[in-house]
Symmetry: C3
Subunit: 308 residues, 3 copies
């Protein structure tokens, strides 16, 4: 999440009444979760396993629960509970605002775009030209939709990320302050869900076509001209490169990359990154030709055992 | 389903013009399908395989298609078609009522709760305090929603159970007269469906978090602080104990129990009860470590066979 | 798609300024994609692999990108891009029209049918008697719904087919001009999607019952009294005969037939036609008894190998 205008380290630390290391006038220009940081960002880290990643990341300010040495050119803010304080801080800059009407007065809708009845368009939403938004679609606040986009009925753009931290006796929610961005020429089927980023953006790339009942998790970035069949589910923080085809009911776990032009057959499960330009099948996924050989062998197995 | 006030055996039998065994003034205080019965309930049974279960159940009155001996302290009502007459009777006490407005006049909504545009809230619905109900959610009649609940767009609470009896040339519907209950601090993602109970309650336990596109069947009871990823589907009459984690696209068949703290990896299929405290994978599911071993063996199999 | 009144070959060819072979007054009475053609139809073919199929099909007029001999009793129209011209032609006869109100003035709704709040009913929709259409359902233009049908909340009837042709650098959409037809006594759960046909009809047969989150692709024809559990997904151009039972999360690929009375267990994947009257399991599917034997063997395999 970019801030509309920058704040100083002193101001930010003051909001949570925290000690800090760095120039009081050091600039904080955004908030981002560690997967999405850019220079100027404040990020948080609360587990020793990720200290190093956070300190060496692009983030300029690190909200951390240990008094470590400050890397050069960066700033640190100390907190006994960085998750709690990060959620508190992001909420100061973007919070849920209720809407009074089906189409918010602060939404911008381009020329030639048709909004069918029953559509909800939240605050600060921006929709381009010549789109069709079919009946009963819901578009959450701050979503960005390009030109020539078609959204079918029942689809939900920009709902909250599914991102919780386990506390001793409850799940603590990381407030989502990112956005969902649908680029030009995208078509999204009925009853799909494209979650917003927790702090960065979820992106559906130009020309990509989604069938019905598809789930795209927070901060996932889909390339151009991809084609996903019905009931595909993709978790958060996934990168899908251009021209990828996923057939029906494929499931994709978080934090991985699917290479350009990969084709994944129906019902496959992807748990690790896969290279582009190949065809895959199975759960967990293998190259399709290997999986097919394995399945053929399995069928012949009784006879093979008998012959021994 | 509890009746608002009790009826007598004579009154109930009279409604379907049926013979009965028992004190005419014997009290019928509710209707329940055999999986959910409590003392005071009338239940039905129409298959010899289940006579014994019904007669020995907690139900006080049994609607049955055979003239068996009446167990002590109970009552019997005889019918040539107990299913038909049970549906007829429940319909006398709770039937579908159409609504005139998006928010029924008989719904109660707590302080601090935000209802976004396009939300439907049916008759007799009760929603607690400080909830957010996002745009285009639908809440059927008689649903109960606690405090601090978040329901995302497109989600449907309390639709009818998927429960049909096979007749010679059609599927006969068991009318749903139960409820959907969402306890405090639950968050339910976009495009989820939580069916009502056929006669008892479907329950999502306190603090549980559901991602998008999740299906919870009738009369299923989910414990506290569970976490289900997107596109999980759970059939009817399932018990999920506290702290269970189901990853994406897991499928769960009806009438089983998932033990406390179980973790089930993505795309697994659960056809029998599984113990708590373990991690599972596969369809049908096994302990994950066994399944992983099996998958590794399968990959090595061509070489093993060659070596023989 | 049937035309309201017939056009001549000369008129149709004139619309795309194309050369043709045949009597100028030859009748074109409809448009259909090759899977669905009837006598009188115009269809298109643009790949040599399918020339023969198109020329020998029931279609009377073939829009083709090669100057072949005209079969007797038929007509040909020549185009350098039959896909583009077919889309252009169908759009002349049926195009998307925006709606001004939740229930279109051109929709017909039968006696005794209840339309709950938030329901969208498009242009020229026809709904029969004694139906219940629950809140926030969306019914696209030209859909046909019979008597005694129940549609649960969030369900979408008649969205566009997911049918794109790969061009060098984008996906080109085949405009959907078919319909979705829901026959009498059908019940469709919450958050289901029944796509319209691309040029023919998608049909849900009389008495069939669908649970929640079910996807039915374009031009798929489901028989009578089928029962599909939650999250089943069926692609386009599938034929499901009567009395078929599909359990939860089953996936079905396009262009195949499931025989009468087949039962398919949960999470199975169907990639080829399967015969009726049997029970199936697995992905890809096998007869359930074979698959179960295979799974049992797999579990015993470590011991078998050890014994060798």
């Amino acid at each position: 999440m970019r801030l509309n205008y920058s704040h100083t380290l002193e101001q930010i630390a003051g909001m949570i009444d925290a000690k800090y290391v760095g120039d009081p006038g050091f600039v904080v220009s955004g908030f981002n979760e560690i997967h999405k940081v850019e220079p100027g960002d404040l990020t948080f880290v609360d587990h020793p396993k990720y200290y190093d990643k956070a300190l060496k990341s692009e983030a300029s300010t690190i909200l951390i629960n240990k008094e470590v040495d400050c890397p050069e050119g960066k700033a640190l803010i100390f907190s006994d509970d960085p998750f709690r304080d990060y959620v508190f801080l992001t909420r100061q800059f973007r919070t849920f605002e209720s809407a009074q009407s089906m189409i918010s007065g602060s939404a911008a809708i381009g020329e030639g775009t048709v909004i069918q009845p029953g559509v909800f368009i939240g605050n600060q939403v921006n929709i381009g030209k010549n789109c069709i938004v079919h009946a009963n679609v819901s578009v959450y606040d701050h979503s960005i939709i390009g030109d020539n986009v078609i959204l079918h009925s029942g689809t939900v753009i920009g709902a909250d990320a599914f991102y919780f931290k386990r506390r001793s006796d409850y799940w603590d929610k990381l407030e989502s302050v990112g956005r969902a961005i649908i680029e030009d020429d995208v078509e999204i089927g009925a009853c799909c869900t494209i979650d917003k980023g927790v702090s960065g953006d979820t992106v559906i790339g130009q020309g990509t076509k989604l069938d019905n009942h598809i789930q795209i998790g927070h901060d996932t970035v889909i390339g151009k001209n991809c084609l996903f069949a019905a009931q595909v589910g993709i978790a958060g923080c996934v990168i899908v490169e251009d021209d990828v085809i996923l057939w029906g009911q494929v499931g994709v776990q978080k934090d991985l990359t699917i290479g350009k032009g990969a084709i994944v057959l129906g019902q496959s499960g992807i748990a690790k990154s896969i290279a582009g330009g190949k065809t895959y099948f199975g759960s967990p996924v293998q190259e399709a030709k290997d999986k097919m050989r394995e399945l053929a062998l399995l069928k012949r197995l009784p006879k093979i055992i008998e012959m021994l």
